[in-house]
Amino acid sequence: MNTSRVDGHTSQAFDADMNEIVNKVLDMGSLVTHQVEKAIYAFIHTDADMARAVISKDDEVNHLEVKIDEHCVQVLVRRQPTAGDLRAVIAAIKTIKDLERIGDQAKRIARSAIKAAEAGAEADRAFPEFEMMGTRVVRMLQDAMTAFRNHDAQEALQVALQDKAIDSDYESILRQNMTYMMEDPRNITRIVEMTWVGRAIERIGDHARNVCEYTIYFVKGRDVRHIDDAQIEAIVQGR
């Protein structure tokens, strides 16, 4: 079945319920993506005000997660969804969990940005790497949410595969940071903080990949967690 959709029910109220789930998940995805974008910007540009704004907005992310969860529970109780509808609700519940975790990582990056600003840090040699990795992860998040919105398993797979590039960005930041630490041990505290930021971005990539896997589950009806990429591709292609 490739014709996953959440509308077209005889009951229009059921359609409205399902559309509300999808739209709220998209809203949450959009909010979280902005949080990540701003947090990384705040870190690179040592912008403490923007970092504080990110931290205070995390409550909104958490609140959305709870609201969407509640709505999904209501749909399960009232509509007893089956097949594609059931998978859409399950995918939504799982997706918002990962989005909430992404929000937490954005908050973590923002805290590092504040620390860096308070320590009087200025632009650093490693920042072009962070900029590249950050751009990649924000793009990946946007694309993951687009694949979810369009119920597009093929697109979701392509986005999931982008996680590899982010992992390799993180590897290279790690290597570089180790060099800096060896060059001058006085840098260690600051470099460890930078490493945490790299780690947070890398985790965001993992969560974005999870979101893509839930979209594939929703569309294809197959659980693709914990299997290798070739197997996922075979499922997405319907082989």
Binding site: M1, T3, G8, T10, Q80, T82, A83, G84, I227
Partner: protein, 276 residues
């Protein structure tokens, strides 16, 4: 025993939908190209299905899709409708049940039926159960008969509720009890297959739950085919589910597959409430 190899720890793909659809066991009943005509109009368009021993198979579909018509082919209940004509082949343990030499009364003992509305005989609870075994000559004496009555009522989960009033009329029981009485009556003649045509549609939710629990227990001893309009019921009680539409069998697979990942758009549209 050596160390487990990495291969045994590797996460593998779940089985395919097809392999999940295949239950283990022997084929109990089989239908090949079964068509049913009411007068000139063809109500069932060539159904092929195997029903396995000790499974519960549910038939779902919109009104008029042919699910009850097909169920009634399995013990020749359509014979009782003058205008109905059945073609194709239906077997029970490889024996053609439409063979003209076959004893239909005997067939209906082997393939018992429970209807939508409980229909106890206007007799005592005891006589409701005793009638079949007597008719089929299954008992020689009163003790044997009493044993069959008690064991049938026990299997139907009704014994404790009626053991002190076996002489009371069956029609005096509650709806749910009457339906269990009808199930006990079907069991009393030692059937191999039990057909149920919407057995819970006239019952309240508690009585429905009791019947559903009973179905689960009975499948250890019998093969059960159930027609239901209640899709959650099909999801709860059956091992496999068949979706009928406009006289065709659209999809038959493992119940968990049908309700989470159906392969046919028509099935998905029906179970998700998108028909019409």
């Amino acid at each position: 025993m050596g160390q487990p190899s990495m291969n045994t720890l590797k996460v593998t793909l779940p089985e395919s939908a097809d392999s999940q659809a295949l239950p283990q066991g022997n084929i109990k009943m089989s239908a090949r190209d079964v068509k049913v005509f009411y007068g000139a109009s063809e109500a069932l368009h060539g159904i092929n299905m195997d029903i396995y021993e000790n499974e519960v198979v549910a038939f779902i579909g919109p009104s008029g899709c042919g699910k009850s018509t097909f169920l009634r082919c399995l013990n020749r209940m359509n014979d009782t409708i003058d205008s109905a004509r059945v073609t194709g082949k239906v077997t029970l343990d490889d024996q053609d049940i439409y063979d003209p030499s076959l004893d239909v009364v005997q067939l209906r003992a082997q393939v018992g039926m429970v209807f939508q509305k409980p229909n106890p005989f206007p007799k005592s609870i005891f006589e409701n159960i005793a009638y079949g075994p007597r008719l089929h000559g299954l008992v020689d004496n009163k003790t044997d008969l009493e044993e069959i009555v008690e064991s049938s009522l026990r299997r139907a989960g009704l014994w404790n509720e009626v053991k002190d009033r076996l002489d009371a009329p069956g029609t005096g029981l509650s709806g749910g009890q009457q339906q269990r009485l009808c199930i006990a009556r079907a069991i009393a003649v030692s059937p191999e297959v039990i057909l149920m045509d919407e057995p819970c549609s006239a019952l309240d939710p508690i009585a429905t739950t009791i019947i559903e629990e009973l179905i689960d227990e009975l499948k250890g001893s019998y093969t059960i085919a159930i027609v239901t309009h209640n899709m959650q019921q099909a999801a709860r009680v059956s091992d496999r589910t068949a979706f009928f539409h406009l006289g065709n069998l659209v999809e038959l697979s493992a119940t968990r597959e049908i309700f989470t990942n159906p392969q046919d758009t028509r099935t998905e549209d029906y179970i998700t409430g998108r028909f019409g």
